[in-house]
Amino acid sequence: MADDTKPGIRILDRFGAAVDDVIEDNPRAAAFWLLTAFQVETWKVRHLPEGQKLPSGQMGCRLAIEGITRALEHPDEAVLTSIFMPNEIFLAMGLRPMIAEAISDFMTGARAEEGFAVAAEQRGVPESYCSYHKILVGAAATGVLAAPRLIANCSVACDANNITFKWLAERLGSPHRYVDVPYDTSEDSVAYVADQLEELAGVTEQVYGRALDRARLSEFVARGQRTLQAMERTLPMRHRRYLVNDMGLEMQEALALHLLLGSEDAERMALQAERDIPEAKPYDGLELIWVHAAPYFSVPLQKVLDESPVAQIITSDMTFDQTRAGGFEHGPDEPFLAMAERLVHNSFNGPAARRIARIRQLCEKTQADGVVVFCHWGCKETMGASQLMKRDLEAAGFPTLVLDGDGCWRRNMSEGQTATRMGAFLEMLHDRREAAR
């Protein structure tokens, strides 16, 4: 748990400022410092995990940090992808997916996001652009992000996916594959996406000079489906259990489930969660569903949400987006169709009603006290649907707070307003619960 007054944070502040100072003139030094910082963090989470966290939480944290750091350490094996892109193809080939949004998030963790975001804006990136993408563009434009051997992203879930990766590929000279995901969920759409994924597999084989073993791919797809099912089973277990989590961990678990879905590690984490949660201590604080990214660096939010007796995030829709209502139709024997089906039916794809239905389902399964819809700066997908979410969820009996801010750029967080809004919301939920008792 971080706090701006802690000495460690003050050191990080200086580190971030030092990186900011050199990104334009000495990008190699900046890249080296950042990688070293990530390596230190990787060592820490592996050897000195936060003991109070649930074992599954410790695993989620380790998988996310290790996954990205190792990819940065081994650029020859890295593939730059977007958060919703299925990664089983790469994992089955022994490659290391590197999710763009996670890189930005890690820059924020190192308090080095300011320089990259400003560098991007100075090169013409619109102020209203998603900060995750802006930071990544800044990192590439300044030369801190080395050219990946392959860039592969999908159109889900927002416009930025249609711009950033293409821009990066042109600037960095990397081959680029783009998977277009239709809005509607017909079998035609699934087949269309499956064809594109199969084509991507061929390109990946060519770029890395490795063959994709189809049987191995099916194993990864099967494991991915089992992982999601195990995670789904944890939902009803979460109510009134102390999850010992924080906003950062919530995002790390979501990241692990996208970055490494299909791996043995990710399945182990899900199965561990299934064992941990029923054994966790009882919890009497408020329980919230978090919608979209969480600004884990926000001190006022940390005070009330991170390992706090006041309230905890019971889960987020970023962690539980990869399911299909009624179950999947395609199994591991049709690996490309199975991955395509998961992508087409992702709750972030398609109309807002689909995502809202999934959030409502999460609320019902976890018996949450309320929902926070976090309108991350630049995310028109979430912002545009935020009032629809509020109206729908409140009609279903789940009070909802629409909170504006930024998941990765401190500049766009108005901490005073955030503290007041979240404080008032929690007071309201508390009173509501007391009245019901």
Partner: protein, 584 residues
């Protein structure tokens, strides 16, 4: 948006299948709307959506709108559709899924999407597809006019196009995301499927294609044609867009971006680097506000295209010969001050004044003219030519001509500091950076977009928050000891940051320095946009704030000069350009 007949289908994207709908007898129209207020959108969706989307939402809630076809072209349009679905006020509301690629698989998907839309609209309207109506609705191909100015980028609101027509003296062509609807003309083989009504005999009936077959044939050709238009920026392959900015038949480009639309900022950044012809970036929020500033920028761009202020030359030719010495009056009517100079035929400034503009630009200008003439010991009749510039230029009576402050600042700066290559002017209401040609012409320029951040107004508001006069703000800003970062560029948020710093007992000079750096950073970003280069000259009221000047030099990495007469730069330029036009 109003539709008394009930047969109008509105659309908001160039990929909307207008011709297919026309085949069902629909009258299709682009929803070129600008809402008076975004209240509905703010309440039903969110404030941080693009102005076009918010205007569309507000307009679509009108009871006059019966049919609207949207596409999945961008995040905002998809969410506007979601909100309208929830409202359930529109009789026929349809979202067409648009692929991002244009290959064989995508054309097949597009065709099946169009077939679904056709079935839905046929069922709604109770009509069958008439290929004759569809084919007749195709607009003839547009031949680009030689020597035109192209508006590229995000949807150009009607007010922008009006301002373009008023301010740009060349033909204007709109190829923005909604303006560039150019579906290829149907081939003659397709046209042959449309026949004149037969005589009714068995042979005619047998030869006439059934409506369903006609629709199939039409869709086979139409889906690729619709997808094959010059791509908008949401498409994956945008190489076809290079023709929009390649300079062929173009005299200039106005690149329009819209607040909270992300697609076009990227293309602009690249296009500006490679531009072979003058390019002006305009960012709007899709409302009719800031029309004055918009016209100033467009007019200045027009002046750039002509290389010289034509109006003033014409005015010079028409002024009556007075005999005797030449005196030119230059008046710069700004938001805070009105400046006036009188120049003689040799270019020497005889008198100059700076007066407060006050509540009325005309009154401020009258006072400035009266004072400057008095100082020069002249009367109005002695003045050979009077040239006005600045925001209030059109409101000043009895001027012979007007020129925008961009052109005047460039000329004035060149006169004051001939070696200057970039002018940074930060005034009360706006800030601008002008990249000069070696002879003092405008190579490129940029102005801040409808936002007080980085302007004199920003510093005024912060001085008020810190409870001190502006001069004191300038003085104390030099005494800073520790770096304080004011991270928000937004005036409102920056003010709350300042309040927090005051609450933390941060020394006032450090706060002021943070504000100075904030202004400098914003201005530096503008300078980069026009490829500004040293030597820099700073003009405008904020040039008197040494803290900002020093911060700017640091951020730009080069010295920033000022001049004792920098505040008069616009008026001096106006008088000088007037003098030039007289052939003096």
């Amino acid at each position: 948006m109003s539709d008394e007949s009930g047969s109008v289908v509105w659309y908001a994207c160039k990929y909307a299948p207008a011709e297919l709908l026309a085949g069902y007898g629909a009258s299709t129209r682009l929803a070129n709307v600008e809402a008076d207020t975004f209240e509905a959108a703010d309440q039903l969706a969110h404030g941080n959506l693009c102005g076009y989307g918010k205007s569309l939402l507000a307009s679509a809630l009108s009871p006059d709108v019966h049919a609207l076809v949207l596409t999945t072209c961008c995040d905002v349009m998809r969410r506007i559709y979601d909100v309208l679905v929830e409202r359930d006020d529109i009789d026929f509301l349809y979202l067409l899924d648009l692929p991002h690629n244009t290959g064989k698989a995508e054309r097949r998907l597009m065709r099946s999407q169009l077939a679904r839309l056709a079935a839905a609209y046929g069922s709604y309207s109770g009509r069958t597809f008439d290929p004759g109506l569809a084919l007749a609705s195709f607009a003839p191909p547009v031949v680009p006019t030689k020597g035109h100015v192209t508006v590229v980028g995000a949807h150009a609101p009607g007010s922008l196009m009006e301002a373009m027509r008023e301010s740009i003296t060349l033909p204007v062509s709109n190829v923005t995301c909604t303006g560039a609807r150019r579906v290829a003309s149907p081939p003659s083989e397709l046209a042959r499927t449309v026949r004149a009504p037969g005589c009714g005999c068995d042979a005619c009936i047998a030869d006439d294609p059934a409506p369903a077959d006609a629709l199939e044939s039409f869709l086979d050709w139409y889906a690729p044609a619709l997808l094959g238009q010059t791509p908008c920026m949401r498409m994956n392959d945008v190489s076809g867009r290079s023709s929009l900015t390649d300079g062929r038949n173009q005299e200039g480009i106005v690149y329009h971006t819209m607040k909270f639309c992300d697609y076009y900022g990227f293309e602009y950044a690249d296009a500006a680097k490679e531009a072979r012809i003058p390019m002006l970036k305009i960012e709007t929020d899709g409302t009719r506000q800031s029309a004055g500033q918009l016209r100033t920028r467009l007019k200045a761009f027009d002046e750039t295209l002509h290389g010289m202020a034509d109006d003033v030359s014409a005015a010079a030719r028409s002024v009556r010969p007075k005999g005797g010495p030449t005196y030119v009056l230059g008046v710069d009517s700004g938001s805070t001050s009105t400046d006036a100079v009188v120049m003689d035929g040799s270019g020497k400034t005889l008198a100059s004044v700076i007066v407060a503009t006050g509540a009325k630009a005309t009154a401020g200008a009258a006072k400035a003219i009266e004072d400057v003439l008095e100082e020069a010991h002249l009367t109005r009749d002695d003045v050979t030519l009077a040239v006005a510039t600045g925001y209030g230029r059109d409101a000043i009576p009895d001027m012979d001509s007007t020129i925008t402050e961009i052109t005047c600042h460039a000329a004035g700066a060149h006169l004051l500091v001939p070696e200057a290559r970039t002018v940074i002017d930060i005034g009360g209401q706006d800030s601008k950076v002008i990249h000069l040609t070696p002879d003092g012409g405008v190579a490129n320029f940029v102005m801040n977009d409808k936002c007080a951040a980085g302007t004199g107004r920003f510093l005024e508001m912060m001085a008020r928050t810190l409870e001190m006069p502006l001069a004191e703000l300038s003085r104390q800003g030099l005494e800073w000891k520790h770096e304080v970062r004011i991270s928000s560029m937004c005036t409102v948020f920056a003010e709350s940051e300042v309040v927090s710093l005051i609450a933390d007992d941060t020394p006032t000079p450090d706060i002021i320095h943070g504000l100075d750096v904030s202004v400098a950073t914003k201005t530096s970003a503008l300078a980069k946009r026009v490829k500004g280069e040293p030597p820099y000259l700073m003009t405008g009221g904020v040039a008197n704030n040494e803290g900002v000047v020093r911060a700017l030099a640091e951020v730009l990495g080069a010295p920033v000069r000022t001049h004792p007469d920098s505040q008069l730069c616009g008026a001096i330029g106006a008088a000088w350009l007037g003098l030039q036009s007289l052939g003096a």
